[in-house]
């Protein structure tokens, strides 16, 4: 084989992947930027055309729901990620211990990871429905938790925790398994107790895994549309509408692609800003 042909091999191997990513990820992002400057509504094609910054002006100055959805998005991501990190870390530490039945316990506690957002909604609607749900066993037989402004937030947060904690736990367990056992032995020889071993051996070694898991999950929870779309539809009174859910509703229900694209651009900017900020603050990947 000639050296030129040999050098072409890796490029041939990656070419289908590169082509797919270019056509269906990179190009769409570019076209969102283009649409955001257009009037484009599938239900009113006669009004399509260049709009300049009109979509953005409407979004920033006239659309209260945009600002409200931003506020809820922040609340949603912070609550989910904080709780998922705490519970996921605890769960990872527990199933990293050796005990009889550990394999089975891992399979069971990780299993909601494989469940879709829509199925999660189906399951939790059964749990939350007044009269026939499980709340009657907790002394709240007639509370419609999903329709009540006071209870809807904790209800959706718990539902997403059910599905979200396993993934955090899986990522952190993978990180835990990368810590050499000798470090714990050495720390124990030096007289470090359980708490100090956790603080000085486990946490520093888990740092990268925690940073990456937190970042990935934040992005995914930010983008989590399936669950809220089906569980609350963004209600009651739009109080559980995240920005991506708002975009999806615009795209699916009202087919207002121009304005939806402007909202999408806002989402991209926010994601990019916080991802960069977070990576910088956590000094990800740097040697200590």
């Amino acid at each position: 084989m000639s050296s030129l042909r040999r050098r072409a091999v890796p490029y041939l191997l990656i070419s289908p992947t590169v082509a797919l990513i270019a056509a269906f990820l990179v190009y769409p992002i570019g076209s969102v930027a283009y649409y955001s400057l257009q009037n484009r509504n599938l239900t009113r094609p006669w009004a399509d055309g260049f709009a300049g910054l009109e979509n953005f002006r409407r979004m920033l100055f006239e659309d209260e729901l945009f600002w409200q959805s931003l506020g809820f998005t922040a609340k949603w991501v912070v609550a989910e990620i904080g709780l998922q990190l705490l519970l996921g870390l605890a769960l990872a530490l527990i199933v990293n211990e050796s005990f009889i039945g550990r394999g089975l316990a891992r399979s069971l506690v990780f299993s909601p990871w494989a469940v879709s957002g829509v199925l999660t909604t189906g399951i939790w609607i059964l749990l939350y429905t007044p009269g026939t749900g499980v709340l009657r066993f907790l002394g709240h037989p007639e509370t419609a938790v999903l329709g009540n402004l006071d209870t809807v937030f904790p209800a959706v947060v718990v539902t997403e925790l059910w599905r979200g904690v396993p993934f955090f736990a899986i990522l952190l367990l993978a990180g835990l398994q990368g810590i050499p056992g000798e470090l714990y032995e050495a720390a124990a020889v030096d007289g470090a107790g359980r708490v100090r071993r956790f603080r000085h051996v486990t946490l520093p070694h888990l740092r990268d895994a925690i940073v990456l898991a937190t970042l990935l999950r934040s992005v995914w929870e930010f983008n989590n549309v399936d669950l809220l779309y089906t569980l609350t539809g963004g209600g009651p009174a739009q109080v559980t509408t995240t920005l991506p859910l708002y975009v999806a509703q615009r795209a699916i229900d009202s087919k207002d692609f121009g304005y939806g694209s402007a909202l999408t651009m806002a989402g991209f900017v926010i994601l990019l800003f916080f991802s960069l900020l977070y990576l910088r603050l956590s000094r990800f990947g740097e040697d200590r």
Binding site: R7, P10, Y11, L13, P16, T17, L20, I21, F24, L25, Y27, P28, I29, S31, V32, I94, E97, S98, F99, A105, R106, S107, L108, V109, S111, A114, V115, S116, G117, V118, L119, T121, G122, I123, I125, L126, T129, G131, T132, V134, W162, I170, L171, A174, Q177, G178, D208, L216, V219, V225, Y229, P244, V247, A251, G260, S261, G267, L271, L272, S275
Partner: protein
């Protein structure tokens, strides 16, 4: 960055095995409080929802007993025959299997290139793959709809196969390159010295050892595709092209009084992923540490 993936993949395999050989724990009353009580509580939180769905699915309509007996399959007959889950299920299997095959083949190709070759643009390729993790599918609904409309793939399962494959691919390529790097290059070299071409050496020597990687990547792809809701909701509007999540979302909306049908539909949606999960979960932890945690 890239060699890191390689090294960690190997290490993850090694440590995954090592943990089985830990010494049996000593009896310690603190362990009950520290380990078994929280684990038990968490298991209740995890399993009660599944149990509740099963109860609704096999309980006659109108009954409210938490322990159903005798059980009935009437709800399954309703969803499968009357609501059309037989068709949704078939569509989901078609999309899931094609996406699995496409993702796995392309991931092996891309992963092999990343793992075995040093070429110009390799780092850029890695960075692009990692960056795609931050691109939300939900935010690309509008442009993707326009593209598929141009391609004539709206109301066609092909749009779902393509879109799901694209979103599965980046992580799959990274994962697969970790798994391929864990197979020593020397075995491949030996086969080539014996006169095999590189392709034959790969097929005969590397591929058999990649079984865990193929299972892990294939299962991730299948589960993600099976679960995908928004693409199916956006790109398909004819009922005979619905996939399971879309069908289920309509069951949630329209049959909200008929919880038996909702629960039975949920069980139908859950069974394939639960089966795949049972296979894949052994590879889950070190599969992820091979690729995702440390890219």
């Amino acid at each position: 960055m890239s060699t890191d993936v390689v090294i960690r993949a190997g290490r993850a395999h090694a440590s995954g095995d090592r943990s089985h050989r830990r010494p049996r724990p000593k009896r310690d009353p603190g362990r009950v409080l520290r380990l078994y009580v929280p684990l038990g509580l968490y298991l209740v939180f995890t399993l009660v929802p599944f149990y509740w769905m099963l109860v609704f699915a096999v309980r006659p309509a109108g009954s409210t007993t938490p322990v159903p007996w005798p059980i009935t399959f009437e709800h399954f007959e309703t969803v499968w025959n009357d609501i059309g889950y037989a068709v949704f299920f078939r569509n989901s299997v078609i999309v899931g299997v094609w996406s699995l095959l496409a993702t796995t083949v392309l991931a092996v190709m891309g992963g092999y290139a990343l793992s075995r070759y040093r070429f110009r643009g390799r780092t850029l390729f890695m960075v692009v793959l990692l960056c795609t993790q931050f691109i939300p599918g939900a935010m690309l609904l509008i442009p993707l709809f326009t593209i598929f409309k141009t391609l004539g793939l709206i109301n066609n399962l092909g749009s779902l196969i393509v879109a799901d494959t694209v979103f599965n691919l980046p992580l799959s390529v990274i994962l697969m390159s970790g798994f391929i790097s864990a197979v020593p290059f020397t075995v491949e070299e030996a086969a080539m010295v014996d006169g095999c071409t590189r392709l034959r050496a790969f097929l005969a020597v590397v591929l058999p050892q990649l079984r865990p990687g193929l299972i892990a990547v294939g299962s991730f792809a299948f589960i993600h595709t099976w679960n995908n809701f928004l693409f199916a909701l956006m790109f398909v509007s004819r009922q005979d092209s619905f996939t399971i999540p879309v069908g289920l979302s309509y069951t949630i909306g329209e049959y909200s009084a008929d919880f038996g049908a909702l629960a039975a539909g949920g069980v139908v949606a859950a069974v394939p992923v639960v089966c795949v999960f049972a296979v894949v979960q052994r590879y889950l932890v070190h599969g992820i540490s091979a690729g995702a945690v440390k890219g």
